[in-house]
Symmetry: D2
Subunit: 285 residues, 4 copies
Amino acid sequence: MIVLGGNRYGKAEVRLVRVDRGDPDAHSLKDLSVSVALSGELAATHLTGDNSAVLTTDAQKNTVFAFAAEHAVAAVEDFALLLARHFVSSQEAITTARVSIDEYAWDRISATGHSFVRSGGETRGTTVTAHGDAHWVVSGLRDLVVLNTAGSEFWGFARDKYTTLAETTDRILATAVDARWRYTEQVPWDDAYRQARDALLTAFADTHSYSLQQTLYAMGKRVLETLPSVAEIRLSLPNKHHFDVDLARFGLENDRTVFYAADRPYGLIEGTVTRDDAEPAGEAW
Amino acid sequence: MIVLGGNRYGKAEVRLVRVDRGDPDAHSLKDLSVSVALSGELAATHLTGDNSAVLTTDAQKNTVFAFAAEHAVAAVEDFALLLARHFVSSQEAITTARVSIDEYAWDRISATGHSFVRSGGETRGTTVTAHGDAHWVVSGLRDLVVLNTAGSEFWGFARDKYTTLAETTDRILATAVDARWRYTEQVPWDDAYRQARDALLTAFADTHSYSLQQTLYAMGKRVLETLPSVAEIRLSLPNKHHFDVDLARFGLENDRTVFYAADRPYGLIEGTVTRDDAEPAGEAW
Amino acid sequence: MIVLGGNRYGKAEVRLVRVDRGDPDAHSLKDLSVSVALSGELAATHLTGDNSAVLTTDAQKNTVFAFAAEHAVAAVEDFALLLARHFVSSQEAITTARVSIDEYAWDRISATGHSFVRSGGETRGTTVTAHGDAHWVVSGLRDLVVLNTAGSEFWGFARDKYTTLAETTDRILATAVDARWRYTEQVPWDDAYRQARDALLTAFADTHSYSLQQTLYAMGKRVLETLPSVAEIRLSLPNKHHFDVDLARFGLENDRTVFYAADRPYGLIEGTVTRDDAEPAGEAW
Amino acid sequence: MIVLGGNRYGKAEVRLVRVDRGDPDAHSLKDLSVSVALSGELAATHLTGDNSAVLTTDAQKNTVFAFAAEHAVAAVEDFALLLARHFVSSQEAITTARVSIDEYAWDRISATGHSFVRSGGETRGTTVTAHGDAHWVVSGLRDLVVLNTAGSEFWGFARDKYTTLAETTDRILATAVDARWRYTEQVPWDDAYRQARDALLTAFADTHSYSLQQTLYAMGKRVLETLPSVAEIRLSLPNKHHFDVDLARFGLENDRTVFYAADRPYGLIEGTVTRDDAEPAGEAW
């Protein structure tokens, strides 16, 4: 028999900008993309089109804006918790709410207290899942692009008939870090984020690398060593290949100076670093 | 203690174009993006940088190209199976191989037997996972953009203090279908794909819709009714909102004629339709 | 002295969808992105912030929607002409109006008279410029991706010390056509568009090519031969390189079968084909 | 008669990364995308497929890499000048060469002397055109995203029957600056770039704005006042609308706190600020 399986629905990418004018000489700014996904007793709308349990995605959007007016928006984790708990506690049919927020960073332009420039670089994010009274917080970042010009080797790998790659004791290592880590307790979220980001950067930089896998593990381990509140971290690291350009054809030496930055294909290294005694992840991911 | 968790690695987005010149008056073309992800006994490279179990991602890329020369490439499912089985059977350390292929479609330009134009529209894809002697095939499509100008209502939904949406018995319904379905047996893959695509389109068109959830379920059910070889289908349907433009301000009537196509935010409806007696999914997804 | 130079302003990317329900059994659909750019006596707003000559971009957007309600929208050229003439004739300060429209194509899903699927492929577009009583129409398309598996050579080129490319008498030739052509009279726009598109495809296919430049010229010439109403055509053709993969390393022959489709860098060939007695382009481009 | 009009060709988006290891304790990095476009006596390849005047785009790519090995790459303007002059002086058929370079910025990770993180934000660029012995340098930036939370008004605008926008004395003003300026002499390029960027930011911030046009003019004027070596600047400023969200429906006040950041449509303001006695632009643009 054909039956309905797992399902969820919500409003995605609500682009909210909130201005705090508390200090008239130094406004501050939160620039967010908020996505909501709800699940629960939703079979009727799928099977018969009876929408009586469906809180509209339009109302979800309105809730995001209204909560931003009613509450100070500090860390994105706090705002996501507020929203996720609201949906599961106020809607009987909704048993699980997942709220994901991306945050875009801005720097001040020094000329005034009300002028800002987007700082670019990585995007910070969080995903909070509430189920009944329980909740889980997974935070992270993506598009943190890093590169080492030294301290990276790659040799001693397996060989089959299709293996032609030359071994190297000195290559460029570059990646765009996508990392998400699971908290097991509430912490000062902004501080923890900065510490995690620093740990990722520092471990990438100071690990003498024999493979991107080794660097991945070192980065994850560093975050867990730095933050006791983090049980687990998942990393996805594209290997952004930088190939030596053969210039001998033109009578030129190329002593690791000139590289071609390739787009595709790319290596993709994915892995989890965890505590062996971590509490189960439940519905966190 | 901090330990390594789940991990995999591979080469992503190998852009392979294969020309079949068997009939000199009617060449044919396969245009693919192939991604490989391998997992197995890979702790050493993470923990110590010992790469002796690591088949390089460069060799994986070479394998994709070499197999395209050695074998006719018919359906993407067949080519993915060939590759996935190769990696698990030839590399002792590799216990699981996942090969994903996207296929870009081309039409003939009638003027010659060797001229083609990209047909655009949806992208067909497959993900094949091989583990030991077992394997799983999940196929699908994405970016199949569809729209109904009639036959869609939305009313009778839940109401909270943030609900302001007007009920409607006649709205535009539009989405970009992202669907993946799990096969439980080998079938003529190209035929099955065409049948699944037709089932999705037809069910979208002929279902009188009271919610996008209802349409999602009808689309999934239609695929399962059409294809006994499919155990389960997962659909992700963004609700691409088309809003009535208020023209009364200009003394004009707008009787469901003029719409504003919004980008963000958008509704996002995700669900699974399955057989209640389907064999377990194993490592298919 | 520092002075204001050329300037214009407007609303970009108004996403208008218009449904024609005239035949209840066969609705039809126009899916457009409309951009307006106005110029004229606009020094004051730049120099002093006096906005009395500034028709707001919000009003421009409203005009697009209102005109779509008041007028049948047939060819995009007609709708752009209507809008461009409106702005220059109704606003004293506005001397030139440029209206650009992109059109996204849809096919019918046969199951109903109100169901559609995006056909993908190329995007049709037009740019109409009105200045006083004069106007110019430039139409075109972009992202028409084409490929020949035979009939393309490249040899006999210039050589300098950095030239290492091998000559070839049989290569893959692929490009994404971006073409814009200038009309000198009003014609049945939809017919003319189909003829131009056919001419581009046919000339690409049936020209034995010694360079992409030669193919470009043949394509432009064919459009001008086909359409007496076209004075000039501008083509921008990226050379989407497809490189032979060296499989001899694996003991395999690769007789023009397996190719690697590269992303970057790419050749870029740009050129104009024109009538030598064409009337001047004025403000068309 | 149908004839060939203006044309050019070249290699686009050569992704060059150059590492300077002069100081082993502090490597430095240039990350560039280089595009070349050549024009001259190129009728033959278009009309007959005779390629004897065509320097291959592959050789152009090789030249970019080879020059990066032979020469220190300081400012992108210098490297573009070197390349552009090379092509016009070494190839008899080539009369004009245009070299465009985008530069991606990196910051140091303090942990080592060889570790870097992409700084995101704006992209710096230059376009150098060489024709015979003459040359022109146009430099600039794009995607410099800025926002003012105060100091922006918009009222007193023209009104027609489609004008419904409310006047405001306090709005959010946000844009993504795309600016290109023409130098008339050789200057210390990196210093000049920093001064131009600072001028743009400072003028955006400290101009009390009555329209985005006024801000555009102020930004351009500030760059010209700061840099006597700049004759002209062209700015393209999308008005990234931030709309007040109506929360009164929920009994909430929204005193310029909560905004919806819209994607499309957007205003687009384009203008030039120039010196009235500037030397002609020649082939600079």
